[in-house]
Structure formats: C-alpha cells, structure tokens
Amino acid sequence: MDGLNIPLNHILLVSSLLFAIGMLGLMIRRNIIFILMSLEVMLNAAALAFVAAGAHWGQPDGQVVFMLILTVAAAEVAVGLGLVLQVQKRFKTLDMDHANRMQG
C-alpha cells in the first residue's frame, strides 16, 4: 500500500457530493421523471460509497451491497415509471404539486 493510491475519503467526498446534488434535484424538481432521476443519482452515490468501503478493506461485501442497491433501483424504477404513466393519464400533468391528493 503506497501513498499513491486513491484516498478513501476523496471517493467518499465524491459520493457525498453526488448525494447532495441528487437530493437537491429531488427537492427542486416538480416533474416526476426528474424526481426519479434524482433518486437514481442518490442511490448511485450510496452504491459508490459502499463499493469504496468494500475496496478499502479488499472485501467483496461492498459489491454485494452494490448489487442489492441495483435491484432496489431497478424495482423502484419499474414501479415508479409505471406510476408516472398512471399519473400522466389521470392528472394530465407530471407536476407532483398537482397530484397531491392522498385519495383517488
């Protein structure tokens, strides 16, 4: 292990930045498509942190969790996009602020 390797905290920094950007996107966008994209960014940031941690100790566990995150993301997107279609059909808009009635 020489000092020329990539420092862990830099990777984590990147991960944090990605996460923060994703979160910002989540908060400022009103379009459901963008909200879903932001979610993907955040998930990806988390995955990056895991993989980095796994790499830090040279263990496969980080990548295992990455795969789990991948499944979650896939399932979430599948259902989320299905919902997008429904919302568009029902409310004729993708604006979350308009589709805020809990029932119906």
């Binding site: 979160m23 989540l26 908060m27 400022i28 009103r30 979350m96 602020d97 805020n100 009635r101 809990m102």
Partner: protein, 615 residues
Amino acid sequence: MSETIWLIPLIPLLSSVTLMLFGSRLKVSQIGILGVASVGIAALLTLLLAVEFMQNQQVIQLSLWIWMEVAGFAPGISFYFDGLTLVMMSVITGVGFLIHLFSTEFMERDPSYARYFAYLNMFVAAMLVLVMADNLLLLYLGWEGVGVCSYLLVGFWYQHNANGHAARKAFIVTRIGDTAMALGLLLLFTQLGTLDIQAMVGEANQTWQVGDTIPLIACLLLVCGAVGKSAQLPLHTWLPDAMAGPTPVSALIHAATMVTAGVYLIARTHGLFLLAPTAMTVVAVIGITTSLMAAFTALMQTDIKRILAYSTISQIGYMFLALGVGAWSAGIFHLMTHAFFKALLFLGSGAIIHCLHHEHNIFKMGGLRTRMPVTFWSFMIGSAALAALPMTSGFFSKDQILLQAYQLPDIGPGLWMAGLLGALLTAIYSFRLVFVVFFGKANTEPDKNTGWRMAVPLSVLCFLAMVGGWFMIPVSEVFPASDGSHPAHWVEYVSISVPIVGVLLAYFIFYSGRLKIDGLVNSTLGKSLGQFWFSGWGIDWLYDHLFVKPYYGLANMLKGEPVDAIYGLIVALNQTFNHWLSVAQSGRMRWYLASMVAGLILVITLAANLSVGVL
C-alpha cells in the same frame, strides 16, 4: 291445623297467579268466585286456627325451608303464630273476605276485573306473610310485597296520569321508610346475629341495657319503616293521594290492613322498644302529633275519600300513641276495631260513589238518608264508632288508649289532653260528613242502589263495628301486662263526654245551622288557617320544594352525563394535536423532502455528537 298454616297465605297467592296467567280466558263470574273463594277459604282456615288456639293457647312455629344461608345469616321461610298473629290474620282474612265480596259488585263493569282480583289476592297473601313471618327478613318480604300491591292497586286505573303519580308517590314515600327499616335490619343482625324475632328480642335483652344507644338507633330505624307504611308524620303524604285507587282497595289496604302494618311491626318488636324508652316517647309524640294534624286537615276536606284518608292517618296516630305509652294491647285492639269501622266507612263511601256516578265531593251529595238506607246506617254506625261514642267498638279501644296515656308519668296528661282534642275533632269531622252527605237537600240522584254483594259486607261490618268492642283479643301472652291501675273517675267521664260534645257541635253547625261559623270561616285568619289545614299543613308543598323538585333538577342537570365531559376533553385534546400535526401533512412532496432532509441533518448531527464526537 298447626302444620298447615302455610296454606293460608298460599291459597290467595295461587289464586292470584292463576288470575294473572289465565285471567283473560276466564268469565267474569269465574274470576269473582276464584278471587273471593280463595280469601274465603283462607278466612275459614283462620277461623279453624282461632278455635284451636282458643282451646290450647299454643304458639306455633313452623319453618318451611331456609331462605338463604350465608356465613351464619340464615333467615328461614318460617312462620310464627301467636295471639297477635291471630288478631292480624283474622282482620286480614275476615275483613279482606268482606271487601273482596264487596268488590265483585263494585268492579263488575271494569274491563280489568281479573287483574284487579289478581292484585287484591296477592295483597292478601303478602299481608299474611307479613304478619305470620317469624323473622324480620320474611316480614320485610311481606312488607315490600304489600307495598308493591298497594302501588299496583292505587295505580289500577293507569290511564290517568294522576293515578300513576299517586301510586308512585305511595311507593316511593313508603320506600324511604322501608330503606331506613332495612338499615335497622342490618344493624340488628350485625349486633345480634339473628333476625328471628323471638331469638333476637331474647338476645337483645341479654346484650343491652335499657337506655342504650344501639337499641335506640335500631328502634328509631324500625320506627322510620313503620312511619312510612302507616302514613305517620313525616311520611304520611302518600296516603291521601293513594285514594286514587278503587274504593274497596282503600278500604282494605289504606284503612284496614296495610297501613296498620307499622303498628304491627312495633307491637311485634316491643321487646326491643322496651329497651329504648326514648324511642317509645318518639313513637308517642309522632302518634299524637300526626293524629291532631290529620284531624284538623280532615275537618277541611271536601272529598269524601280524603276525609276518610286523613281520618285513618289520625286513628293510626292513636295507635302509635298507644304503642308509645306501652299500651300494646290497647293499640292492637284499636287496630282491630279501626279495621272494622274504617272498612265499613270506606265501603259505605264506595257504595255512595258507585251509586252517584263516581262523585267524590260531599257538598254535591246530600239527602241520601232515605234513598240509600243501608249505606246511611253503615255510615251512622261507622261514624259513631270512629267518633268513639259510648258502646261502639271505637269507644272501648280509644278509651283504653287515652286512659293509659294519662297514666304515663310526666308527659302523660299532656298526651291525654291532646288525645281528647283529637277525639273532639274526630267527632266533629265524622259527623260533619254524615250530616252533609245524608241529610239536607239532595244534590245528585243515585242511579242505582246497592246489590246484595255490597249490602252483606256492609251489614256484617256494621255488626262488627257495633260489637267489636266486646271482643277479647288473645294477646295477653304476647305483651307484658299493664299494672292494672286506673286513673281517677273524672278522667274517664271526661273521655266519654268529649266525643258527645263533638257530635253535638257538628249537629248544630252542619245540620240545624244554629251555630253560625261563617263569620269565623270567612275572616282573614279563618281563611288562611282553613287553607293551611286543607292543604294538609302544607307538607306536600314543602316536600315538593325540598326534595322532589331538587331531585328532578339534579336529574335534569346531570342528564347530559357530565363525566363524559372528561372523556370529551381527551377527545378534544387529541383533535387539537391532530390539527397541529395535519398542518405538516400538506401533501406536497417537496415539503416532505425538505423536512426529511432537515430531519436527516438533525439525526446526523446528533449521531455524530453522540458516537463519533465530531462536529
């Protein structure tokens, strides 16, 4: 015979149950026969029993079964029979039979004929249980039983709200006394460990000294019960209203039998009262006060039945006086004679009411002497006995009471004088009734006359009211003997002459008109006093404002369930919180996200502070 005394109350009871279950399917004549015959058989059995008792003077104690047995508390369904019981049973079955017979004609047209006889028979059964009970709890059963029957019969014509009101009043007012009496029972059992009257009295004499507090309290509680049932001050207000029932009912229940139950109770437990002289004085004072109050009130009434009702209250006051001064047998004797002549008077008034289209006001009657001779003579004899004119039954009994009262040290002469005043008033109001109703101008024509079923009981009762004073009641074994001394002769002469004076006064005022009292009556004082007496000394008004209205008010105030308000407060609190929290629940995604991030920041700050120690 002695083993079958339980048949006596059972037969009327069975008849009553039969009438209740199958009354609607029986013919009127069958109902009448069943109702009358059952009491008749009971009366016959009582007669047989009396004959047997006269021969061997044997006290019968019969236990049918143990009612309940808990931790040493084991009252039985058991009967006790002695001279006192015999007197009471004779009155109940004998007078009861006559009144039943009278009722068959009086109630003939009533659609609820069967119900009437069912109640009346049940009353007889309950009353018999009351007097035959060996222990106070069984007595209490009879006591409440007659109360319920009285309630049912007073409110017999339930279609009129006033009757229902009177019935409820009768029940609830007596219930107040009954509850006190129940407390007395509790006290007696707790202290003495039994409610069997004989054993209890024996135990009491061993446990307590004369003048102790506990027997005083126990006796006063029993007196409360007696006062309620016997319509004495301060619980007498129900009796005049109870006249709403059919007149034979008034005769049986509210004159001859049930209202004297209080007298019976005190006489039966006299062994306790002898331990509490103060209680006896209280009884005497209650008796005489009630007697006078009721006599004044009777003077002013215009409703024939109310006059008789107040007269009953007054006469029972005499009995209480007798009990209070220790003239036990005189009290019971007066109870018996009173049963005869008051039943007679009530039945007579029933006959009048029956024949005069249910007219109750005596000033709308008049001149009935010639048109209803049987009734007239019954009333004459009954009133004479009530006024205690010499040689009538009432004379003997009342005379005994007054003489024994006189002999009491300290307050004796005072009681005697008050008693004389009462006797004077009694003579005046009873003959006022006779003169107003039977003499003078006829105001209402009778539309029918009495049939034999009314005439026979009246005649028999006439006979009894005349000669009842010569009967010897077999209670010498029951009560301690009086000392047998006699007061001075002038006392006796005065006692005899006072009622005669009263009758003469009534004659001059209400018949010949030689004594003008219009000026007196119409004066301001006379008017207000008359009004005061008429209203029964305003006691009803007082109770109404003191108890009844506040209770209604309380019930109305609480009706909405104030306790629920506490739980309502919890609900309101929850709703407030809900309101606050639901403001945050705006449904706007970005707001949720922002608050989530804020929360995240908070959590990380905390977590970092706590575990890592950074920040």
